[in-house]
């Protein structure tokens, strides 16, 4: 099958899985709602634009619901206003981490690479914890998430600058610079935690990664921040395949290696930062999901990138459902690691994941 055909097949299958996971997840909580009821609520929410009114100061779009299933209003409220924002945010974060992890493992040709290998998460942590410990009034009403987002991008950019010499960024240098900067930023976070006093609990909760308190505006913002760079990454998927042959080979096959690396690093950092800023540090998704999907669909990034991203969505929605369904909520980062690590070890024994 052609790559485009395989991409379509696997993407549709995994999108279907994601839909099922979301439907079941939206039913789980203090009030149980059966999946069919959830499905009706979700379908009723699908609207079609029927008319656009341009006469007013702002154009008004008249919409028409596609379906009109009878649903209980309370169930509709719970699903759409309480559970769905969190679930969708989880899906977006899982998508971003898995996509960025796929790209990083490709750039570094290293199975241990994860989305935050060039310091994105550590930067976000410094930004977030710094903001929690010493909240400063940021302009434009930006808060914790903006602080984390900018910290993430600053750290990634700093690592890139440190590792670049004469316009070349060797991945080995990038890797080591990333490790060093992560260690340094880890020390900064530890120091900030010591100074945090009352707010240490909030800071720790953020560091462990959670999706609590998600609301619709965040969903839309992060959707935009993830979707646009993801499209760019998809366009470069074929170049990344060639880069897997090694940088010199890629160059002799006509790939502008340094430029491609720069674009891939920038956009995957952007995707990661968008995910980490809303959810804190959630480990393992970006490491394990690309691995598993590579075993399933092979190393071709034109197929691997979209499928790993969709699988990451399902994985994080499912684990977050577990995280919030206990008597006391657990940060989802703990659940992903607690489930992911044993599964990964199982794969390691079964499928000989010795190399990418």
């Amino acid at each position: 099958m052609q790559p485009s055909g395989r991409t379509l097949f696997w993407s549709l299958a995994l999108a279907g899985l994601l839909g099922a996971v979301i439907t079941v997840s939206a039913g789980i909580g203090p009030v149980w709602i059966p999946p069919d009821a959830v499905a009706k609520v979700l379908l009723n929410a699908v609207v079609l634009p029927t008319a656009v009114d341009l006469s007013g100061a702002t154009p008004a779009v008249t919409t028409q619901p596609l379906f009109r299933f009878p649903v209980e209003d309370i169930q509709r409220q719970i699903v759409l206003q309480v559970r769905l924002p969190r679930i969708l945010l989880g899906a977006i974060v899982g998508f971003s981490l898995a996509a960025a992890g796929t790209i990083m493992q490709g750039i570094f040709r290293n199975p241990m690479a994860d989305p935050s290998i060039i310091g994105v998460s550590s930067g976000a942590a410094v930004g977030a914890v710094g903001f929690i410990v010493a909240p400063v009034a940021l302009p434009f009403g930006l808060g914790l998430r903006a602080a984390a987002f900018s910290g993430a991008l600053l750290a990634a950019f700093g690592v890139y600058l440190i590792a670049t010499q004469n316009g070349r960024t060797p991945v080995a240098t990038l890797l080591l610079a990333g490790v060093a900067v992560q260690t340094f930023l880890g020390a900064v976070v530890s120091f900030l935690l010591l100074q945090s006093g009352e707010s240490i609990r909030r800071a720790l909760f953020w560091l462990m990664g959670h999706l609590k308190g998600a609301a619709w505006p965040e969903v839309w913002t992060s959707l935009l921040l993830v979707a646009v760079p993801f499209v760019v990454l998809l366009v470069y998927a074929r170049d990344l395949n060639v880069m897997l042959l090694g940088e010199e080979d890629a160059q002799s096959l006509g790939i502008d290696v340094e430029r491609t690396k720069r674009i891939l690093l920038a956009f995957s950092s952007l995707v990661t930062a968008a995910g980490v800023a809303v959810a804190g540090i959630i480990g393992f998704v970006g490491l394990i999901v690309p691995h598993v999907m590579r075993l399933v669909v092979g190393p071709d990034h034109r197929v691997l990138l979209p499928t790993a991203a969709l699988a990451g969505s399902s994985f994080l929605v499912a684990t977050d459902t577990l995280a919030r369904s206990g008597s006391a909520e657990v940060p989802v980062g703990i659940v992903t690691a607690a489930l992911g690590a044993p599964f990964f070890l199982y794969l390691l024994r079964q499928r000989e994941v010795h190399e990418l």
Partner: protein, 421 residues
């Protein structure tokens, strides 16, 4: 395509040309002023010891390295003026080794050779598919098409890399040790393929460590050592004992490959040079081998009397040794016999090898010290003072001969020796 037009426009413009290339890596001078010219449709071999800079030359030729000094031109265009993509449509290369650690199939890997011809939003079309299939056929990897590259042996992977380069459909091919991991059969087939491609108009530059394969398949050789060109040109002119001694710092014997005119290089172990004048008597391949071996060991060799055209006479001529010849089947005249006898008398030792013939008995008799080469045609030696040895250890046997006055103790009657062999 415009590439081809450029190639035809100026027949005089070499397809690939490097002028005075100097490269230093990490502060070490790797190349200092290398010139290389590859005419359209030729195979140029880069030979030289390890660390001579062969790979660096290839990396410079494909613009992976930009030289500190000098220029590389492809069909007359400076390579620095071309974008990475433009270079990749003109120059394809196979690396010495590659990180093919991902489970791409052979076909997927070869398909990547089409990258230079695809725009960012292009899909591979029928032409690309055909090019990939043709490349796999020619490199003989079509039967592995669906297997992961990681499951192939080193030699098979090397052929996959060759197929990838062929799929690029470039006028210039750069090959870094294309036969390094190949068995004898595939090494020869790969180089035959390169020669065929050259005959079809492609230009190839290959770093080849096997001097004999290089001599056989390259139209021109460039001998590199310490980042400098020691010699360049026709393999027959380039591969000489002196050049090889200079470049490789090793003794090597240069003769002709059987069946072709190409030089045959036989590396020899390091020994102290044999500082002796030796006269060789005998005919045929064994005498020829003895001459070559002694010359390689450093001694000054004379030969005779041999019929003109005999292998020994030919070898002596190739190696610039004085030789006394007579026309074939004409018999040995007294003049020739006297000259040969004189040479034998002046020599420190006389070596008999192969068929000596009755006419040469007087030449043998003039020997102060005698060494016989044991072999199929056991030489008829009437002298009583002989040491018998093989061609390989001939220099040692000559060097170990006792001084002329003591030879009686060492000499063994020839009759006994002949019984033993």
């Amino acid at each position: 395509m415009s590439d081809h037009d450029d190639g035809h426009a100026g027949e005089a413009i070499p397809m690939l040309e490097a002028n005075d290339i100097a490269v230093s890596l990490g502060g070490t001078q790797i190349l200092s002023g290398v010139d290389l010219t590859a005419e359209c449709g030729s195979v140029v071999g880069l030979v030289g010891p390890n660390g001579a800079g062969k790979t660096t030359v290839l990396r410079t030729l494909r613009a992976t390295l930009s030289p500190d000094r000098g220029t590389v031109r492809v069909a007359g265009e400076p390579i620095d003026d071309l974008s990475t993509k433009e270079v990749s449509r003109r120059v394809a290369s196979t690396p010495q080794a590659t990180t093919l650690s991902f489970d791409f199939t052979v076909e997927q890997t070869v398909e990547m050779g089409r990258t230079p011809h695809l725009g960012r939003f292009d899909r591979a079309d029928e032409d690309d598919y055909d090019a990939v299939q043709a490349a796999m056929e020619r490199a003989e990897v079509a039967q592995f098409a669906d297997r992961p590259v990681t499951s192939l042996s080193g030699g098979e992977r090397q052929r996959v890399l060759l197929a990838r380069a062929l799929a690029q459909e470039t006028p210039v091919l750069l090959l870094d040790e294309p036969t390094a991991n190949l068995d004898v059969n595939h090494a020869v087939r790969t180089l035959e393929l390169v020669a065929d491609l050259a005959a079809e108009g492609k230009t190839a530059v290959a770093a080849i460590h096997d001097l004999n394969l290089a001599a056989r398949y390259c139209d021109e050789l460039v001998v590199l050592s310490d980042g400098e060109v020691r010699a360049a040109g026709d393999p027959r002119d380039v591969l000489t004992s002196e050049t090889l001694g200079d470049a490789f710092d090793a003794e090597a014997l240069v003769t002709r490959q059987p069946g072709t005119d190409a030089p045959l290089v036989t590396p020899l172990p390091d020994r102290d040079p044999l500082d002796a004048a030796v006269h060789v008597v005998g005919t045929g391949g064994q005498a020829a081998a003895a001459v070559a071996r002694l010359v390689a060991a450093g001694s000054s060799v004379t030969v005779g009397v041999v019929p003109a055209g005999d292998a020994a006479a030919e070898r002596a001529r190739e190696l610039d040794c004085p030789v006394v010849t007579v026309p074939p089947f004409a018999g040995v005249d007294s003049n020739a016999r006297e000259r040969a006898t004189e040479l034998a008398r002046e020599a420190d030792a006389v070596v008999v090898a192969g068929d000596v013939g009755d006419a040469n008995q007087s030449v043998v008799a003039a020997a102060s010290r005698l060494v016989a080469v044991a072999g199929e045609g056991v030489p008829r030696i009437e002298s009583e003072r002989t040491t018998v040895t093989t061609v390989e250890s001939l220099p040692e046997a000559v060097a170990d001969l006792p001084p002329a006055e003591d030879r009686d103790e060492r000499a063994v009657p020839s009759g006994e020796q002949q019984d033993r062999y």
